[in-house]
Every structure is written in C-alpha cells, then in structure tokens.
C-alpha cells in the first residue's frame, strides 16, 4: 500500500511539557483513519504539525514523500486541511473564499471554475456562495471549510472535527463524503463522536497525554470492551431478580448488571468470563422463562474502551 502520510517520533513541547510526545503512525491510500483522544490529548497539535502550520520540536512527518519540516509547501500542495473550528476569513463570501484558495493553489481559468464547481456541488454550498461567511450558520461554515480542503483534489486530507456543529442529516452527508473521498485518498479525521468512528473509520489511533495508546480497527477496539460478547436481555422488573440469580450462578458468566429500562421493564446484562461463550449457556438457562421479551449479544461499546484507554485503566489484552 502506498503510504501517503508517515509520522515518526513526532514531538511538540510547549515550555517543558510535551503536548505531543513521540507519536508515530502511517496512513495508506484508501484508509480513513479516526484520530481519537480526550480534549487536550494532542490531537489538534499533531494535525497542525502535519499541516505544516506548527513547527515540530522533534520527529519527522512525510506527506506523499515530502518532509514537512524541510519542504512544507510541496507537502501542503498535496494536502487538504480543515483546522479546528474552521477559521475562515469572515468578511469574504463563500464563493470569494473558494476563489482565493483556488488561486493560491495555482488554479486558474477553466480548471479553477471546475474545481470550485465540483467542491460546491459535493458540499451543497450553492445557497451560501454569495453570502459573507460571518452570516453563515455553523454547519455551512464547516462545509465551506471542507470545500476549501478538497478543492485541489488532495491525496491526503487532515480534518480536525469535520462534523462538529452539523445536524444529524449533515453529519450523515459528510460521513458519506468522507467514505467516498477515502476510496482514492488517505483521510485522517479527529472526532469526539465515537459512533462516527464505528460508522466510517477503517482504523483508529487513540492518543492520550500526547502518546498513542491504541492503533487498531474499530472492531478490534470493540473486542477490548468488557461488554464485548455480553448477553443482554429485557424482561419485566418482577421477574428480573429470579433470572438474575439463575444467570449469575452460571460458570460462563462473570457478573450480571441490572438497569431499569422504563415501562416496568428491566435490562440485565450478563458479562462473560474471559474466552467463554456466554450466549449458549444463557440461552439454555433461560428455558422456561417466557417473560424474556428480547435477547441480544453486545458488540461492545467504544466509549467503554475509550474511557479505559484514556484513563489509564486496564483495557484488556491485544
């Protein structure tokens, strides 16, 4: 696979503390990498260094083979960047801004018109073109930011919270766009929305306090969840205690969690013992309990894994 982004030992110190501390990973064409971490973990700092906006204290970043520290401009030609909060010239209209970016990127004449037209169409910006950016909604502003990032058809996209401030429909639209873009490019997206990672990312890198704590596919991460493979069941509260006791006695079950589900119902969650198949045992144990209205197997929850990874608690093996 062609590696479009290679990061090695990347470090950024502010004073004596390191905001980013020896990060290394690479992204290949076709990958859509989710870049996760709590606020202040160093996501934006890393992305700024990749975009050539912030100098690095140590380490190396290569964009399409260009060393960003030595040849920022050639790297920036191959890269589209959306900064956190999408800062744009507020007094310009969306159309004028895209025209400006196209000119700076060396596009002119028909090629410029075509590039702008394509970006406008992809992000449905037609209605915003003649309006000053300061009068646009947050969602529109973000989409103008995305449009300028993809204008020159870059090989690598670095997007810092691209769906922040969008409504659910717009989020969905942008996710579809990201998936489409990633087919032929490499895309790095930072986000707080974990469902987004499950929905679109082919891989995630999780950082905490400036260091990488996980680099895996979303499915692999889910497997680290203590709820992965747990059996959930919904039943009337009146039967809950009896069933809970029966499940808790099973050797395959480590613990049973109980949570009210409203409407007189209760949800029980039977957490499996390591490497045991709890589902079969639970199903057998439930013979003769017609009260159980619903039964499912948990895939795990990314927010549990995220919490464990970034709070320093054990997050399982792998």
């Amino acid at each position: 696979m062609e590696r479009l982004l290679e990061i090695d030992g990347l470090t950024r110190r502010f004073g004596r503390s390191a905001a980013v501390d020896g990060i290394g990973f690479s992204v290949a064409r076709g990958e859509l990498l989710g870049f996760l971490g709590p606020n202040g973990a160093g996501k934006s700092t890393t992305m700024k260094m990749v975009a050539g906006v912030l100098p690095m204290s140590a380490g190396r970043v290569r964009v399409c083979g260009h060393d960003v520290a030595r040849a920022a401009v050639p790297a920036q030609r191959r890269l589209g960047y959306l900064a956190e909060g999408a800062p744009l010239y507020a007094d310009m209209t969306a159309g004028a801004l895209l025209d400006f970016v196209a000119r700076v990127r060396g596009l002119a004449g028909r090629a410029k018109a075509r590039a702008i037209g394509r970006a406008v169409e992809r992000l449905e910006l037609q209605a915003a073109l003649d309006r000053p950016i300061e009068t646009l909604s947050k969602g529109f502003t973000r989409r103008v930011g995305l449009a300028q990032a993809i204008l020159h058809d870059p090989d690598l996209l670095i997007l810092d919270e691209p769906t922040d401030g969008l409504d659910p429909n717009q989020k969905r639209q942008v996710r579809a766009l990201l998936t489409e873009l990633a087919a032929e490019r490499a895309v790095v997206v930072s986000t707080h929305v974990l469902e987004e990672v499950e929905a679109v990312c082919s891989r995630c890198v999780v950082i905490s306090r400036g260091r990488i704590v996980a680099d895996a596919t979303p499915a692999d991460l889910l497997r680290r969840s203590r709820r992965h493979g747990a059996v959930g069941l919904r039943l009337p509260a009146s039967a809950a205690e009896r069933v809970r006791a029966r499940l808790a006695a099973l050797p395959e079950v480590a613990a049973v969690e109980r949570a009210p589900a409203g409407d007189g119902q209760t949800v029980l969650l039977a957490l499996p013992n390591a490497a045991a198949d709890a589902a079969g045992a639970v199903r057998r144990a439930l013979d003769g309990t017609p009260e159980v209205a619903e039964l499912w197997i948990e895939r795990g929850r990314l927010d549990d894994v995220f919490h464990d990874l970034t709070r320093g608690a054990p997050a399982g093996t792998a």
């Binding site: 700024k48 900064a83 310009m92 000119r103 060396g106 002119a108």
Partner: protein, 246 residues
C-alpha cells in the same frame, strides 16, 4: 510561476479586505480631508504665491504617523486573533510570500489614497507653472515613505494579536524614525556629539523625505527607503515564522 501567483492571490485578497470593511473609505476620506485642510490652512498654499506642492507634502510625514499604523495594524494581529493565520499558513504559501503579499496590498492601497490627491496637482498646474518633475518626485518620495512606515507597522502587527497594541507600537516606532531627523533632536545632539547628530539624522525618514521633496531623486534616498522596506519585510517574515502556531 506558482510563487508569484500565490503572492498575487494573497495580495488581491488583502486589498479586497480593505474595501470589505469601512476602513478603506474612512482612511481615504480622512487622508484627503486632512491633507487638503493642512495644505490650505496651515501650509499657506495660496499665501505663499508659489506654484509648487511644498505645503502639501510637508505634512505627509506627520499625517502618515497616524494613518499608516492604522493601515498596518491589522495585517497580522487580526489574522492571529481570528485564527485565520492558521488557515493561511496551511495553504502552500511561505511566510515570506505572505509577508510580501500583505505589504504590497497595503502599499498599493496607500498609493491609491495618494493618487486620489491628484486634483491638487491639477489645481497647481492650472494656477501657475509648477515644476512637474519636483511634484512627481514628491509623490514618489511620499509613497516610499508610506512603504517604510508600513514595513515597520507590519512587523509590529506580527508581534501581537491586539490591533490597538500594534497601532500604538507602530506609531511610536514611526515617531522615532521621524523624530530622529527633526530640528529638536538634531539641535540637542549637535552640541555634544555632532557626528552622532549626523548619523541619527541620516537614519531618519524625515531627512530623506525632505531631500526627495526638494525635487531631486538621489540614489542614497532611494536606497534608504528600499533598505527600510526590505529590512522591515525580512524582520516581519522572521517574526511570523517565530510566532507560528502560538
């Protein structure tokens, strides 16, 4: 090719930004009204009975002291405050290109304001037989001085994210550049250190502007303003690089 197109694109955007806000119109109006008022009221344009623009140009160093820092203060401070500097620097533009582009836009704008005073040239030509060469030299000198002030104002705009601070610093720095050539400073230094007095005066904007204004474009005056502008741009670029990402 792409290097000049990036500079042209940024300069074009900057120039448009002046006109997108009231700044352009306020600046031009104030400049025209003040320069006319000073010329006719204080300068004794008519009373002198001479067909030249001496009364017009003699106030420019002082007029620019207030107006040029007002033009230059936004160059970087505004971008840093609003976060757009990060956006600009993420585009394939070097700090040096951005600095040159911003300077050129502001300098062209100052040139436009200056060009709009052309009616006064026409008036003096209608009233008498002025030395057009001297007037042209005066305009060139005035524009060069505006460039020198702008280069200084650009540097000081790059050190802060507060435009008012940038304005005050730039006005103070321009005042020093100007005052070094004034009679007061020259007189004070002449007694104790005559050599120093000459050196200080040689570094002053006022000395070189007055030399040009007399109608002679001498190489050393042109070199002075060119050096001031280039030095300002070099320092400005270094400051932008130094402050990158902070």
């Amino acid at each position: 090719m792409s290097r000049t197109s990036a500079i042209a694109a940024v300069a074009r955007r900057e120039l448009a930004a002046y006109f997108a806000s009231p700044l352009a119109y306020v600046f031009i109006t104030v400049f025209l009204v003040l320069s006319a008022a000073l010329t006719f009221r204080l300068g004794g344009f008519f009373a002198r009975g001479q067909a030249d623009l001496q009364p017009f140009f003699q106030f420019h160093p002082w007029l620019y002291l207030v107006l040029i820092p007002a033009l230059g203060m936004r160059l970087w401070a505004e971008e840093r405050r609003s976060g757009t500097l990060e956006f600009l620097l993420s585009l394939p533009v070097t700090a040096a290109q951005a600095t040159v582009a911003k300077f050129l836009a502001a300098w062209l704008f100052a040139g436009l304001a200056l060009a709009l005073t052309a009616p006064i040239w026409i008036a003096v030509a209608a009233l008498g037989e002025p030395d057009h060469g001297a007037i042209l030299a005066g305009y060139i000198g005035s524009w060069l001085m505006a460039g020198g002030y702008l280069a200084v104002a650009g540097c000081l705009s790059a050190v802060t994210r507060n435009q008012v601070v940038a304005f005050v610093l730039a006005a103070a720095a321009c005042f020093v550049l100007l005052g070094a050539g004034s009679e007061a400073v020259r007189g004070a230094l002449a007694e104790d250190a005559p050599a120093l007095a000459e050196a200080v005066a040689a570094l002053s904007v006022l000395t070189h502007f007055q030399a040009i204004q007399r109608g002679v474009l001498e190489l050393r005056d042109l070199v002075f303003f060119a050096s001031l502008i280039v030095a300002g741009l070099v320092i400005n670029t270094a400051l932008v690089e130094l402050k990158r990402g902070t």
